[in-house]
């Protein structure tokens, strides 16, 4: 990962800690970063070198208006205004790892075709904590390609229980 991503993540963590809402800001930035990574048009727009920084910031403000904290919007505007909009997803992931680490946890990125309920997230976090021996901060990414089930990534460990993978295995066996 590039140095500038670590730098932005460290700066964001410091601001979130200053705001006293690390988890909330981190979760919102993770969601925004995921949206940028999965939406080609949005990523192209905020990466367009011919578009002014003010216009890019305005686009993100419009998207987050009423949906995110002011601190979150400010951090997004900072990254987009600096011309690092395409790296927002990586920066947000790095921030989530730092936020979890600062709280003595690990980040568990969970991919699911459908949203997880709070109860499911809690039970999943407990099961992962019991398995890994450390507290985990579950970050859910909605990914229709999973089809069904979950794919959990904690560090270098991947626990794949998705329908997509089972279909792929069936395809390979045939």
């Amino acid at each position: 990962m590039s140095d500038h991503i670590h730098g932005y993540a460290d700066a964001m963590l410091a601001i979130a800690q200053a705001e006293g809402d690390v988890n909330g800001i981190s979760d919102e930035l993770f969601t925004v970063g995921r949206a940028v990574d999965t939406n080609d048009d949005l990523r192209a727009a905020i990466s367009d070198s011919h578009m002014s920084a003010e216009r890019k910031i305005q686009i993100m403000d419009d998207l987050l208006d009423g949906k995110a904290r002011a601190a979150t919007k400010g951090l997004v505007s900072m990254v987009v205004g600096a011309g690092r909009g395409a790296d927002l997803g990586k920066i947000a992931s790095a921030l989530a790892e730092r936020a979890a680490t600062s709280a003595g946890k690990q980040v568990a990125t969970v991919r699911s075709a459908v949203p997880l309920s709070n109860d499911q997230q809690s039970r999943l976090a407990a099961a992962l904590a019991a398995k890994l021996g450390t507290e985990v901060d579950v970050k859910v990414i909605q990914d229709p390609s999973v089809v069904g089930g979950l794919i959990t990534t904690v560090g270098d460990t991947v626990i794949d229980g998705s329908v997509r993978t089972r279909l792929n295995r069936l395809r390979e066996s045939l």
């Binding site: 999943l124 089809v147 979950l150 959990t152 045939l174």
Partner: protein, 178 residues
């Protein structure tokens, strides 16, 4: 000379052939003999030499003619021999050409047969390869159809309850595998 004697004799006073004075006869005869002897003495070598020259020339001409004749015979024989050689050479060329043509026919036939064999072998390999490829394609197509059908069935059956059940099952198995 005989004509002169006749004239002299006709002038004899007695009208006979012999002069009236026999001395004239003798002197005349003597003169004749002297003249004749001189002629024999002086002209004989010249005549003889001329005859010898003529004979030598005739002999030389004859020899040259014979030589020319001989040369002609030799040339004729040589030409005949050459003609014979030419015929033999012609026959040899024709024979060689026939052999070459025959060899070319054989070679061409061999090459054609070899080409046919190679094409046949390649065709067999291609057929076998196509069999394998078609088999693989059919298998892949069947697999794709089966996977597609399976995906359709899975997607159709994955309602909210099924999705939730899958997630719960995942969490339970994660706890069991501790």
């Amino acid at each position: 000379m005989l004509a002169s004697l006749t004239v002299l004799a006709s002038e004899a006073p007695n009208g006979k052939f012999l002069p009236g004075d026999i001395k004239e006869f003798w002197w005349g005869s003597l003169a004749f003999l002297i003249v004749f002897g001189l002629l024999i003495w002086k002209l004989s070598p010249v005549i003889k030499e001329a005859l010898n020259k003529g004979q030598a020339a005739a002999v030389a001409d004859t020899t040259a003619a014979e030589q020319a004749f001989t040369d002609s015979r030799i040339k004729i024989a040589d030409a005949t021999a050459k003609l014979g050689d030419a015929n033999a050479e012609s026959d040899k060329i024709v024979s060689d050409a026939q052999q070459t043509a025959q060899q070319l026919r054989v070679d061409s036939a061999n090459r054609t047969q070899q080409l046919v064999d190679e094409m046949w072998a390649k065709a067999q390999i291609d057929v076998e390869s196509m069999k394998v490829q078609v088999g693989a394609d059919i298998q892949a197509e069947v697999a794709a159809q089966a996977i597609g059908a399976a995906e359709q069935v899975v997607h159709a059956s994955l309602d909210d309850a099924s999705q939730s059940a899958l997630i719960d099952d995942y969490i339970i198995r994660l706890g069991v595998s501790l």
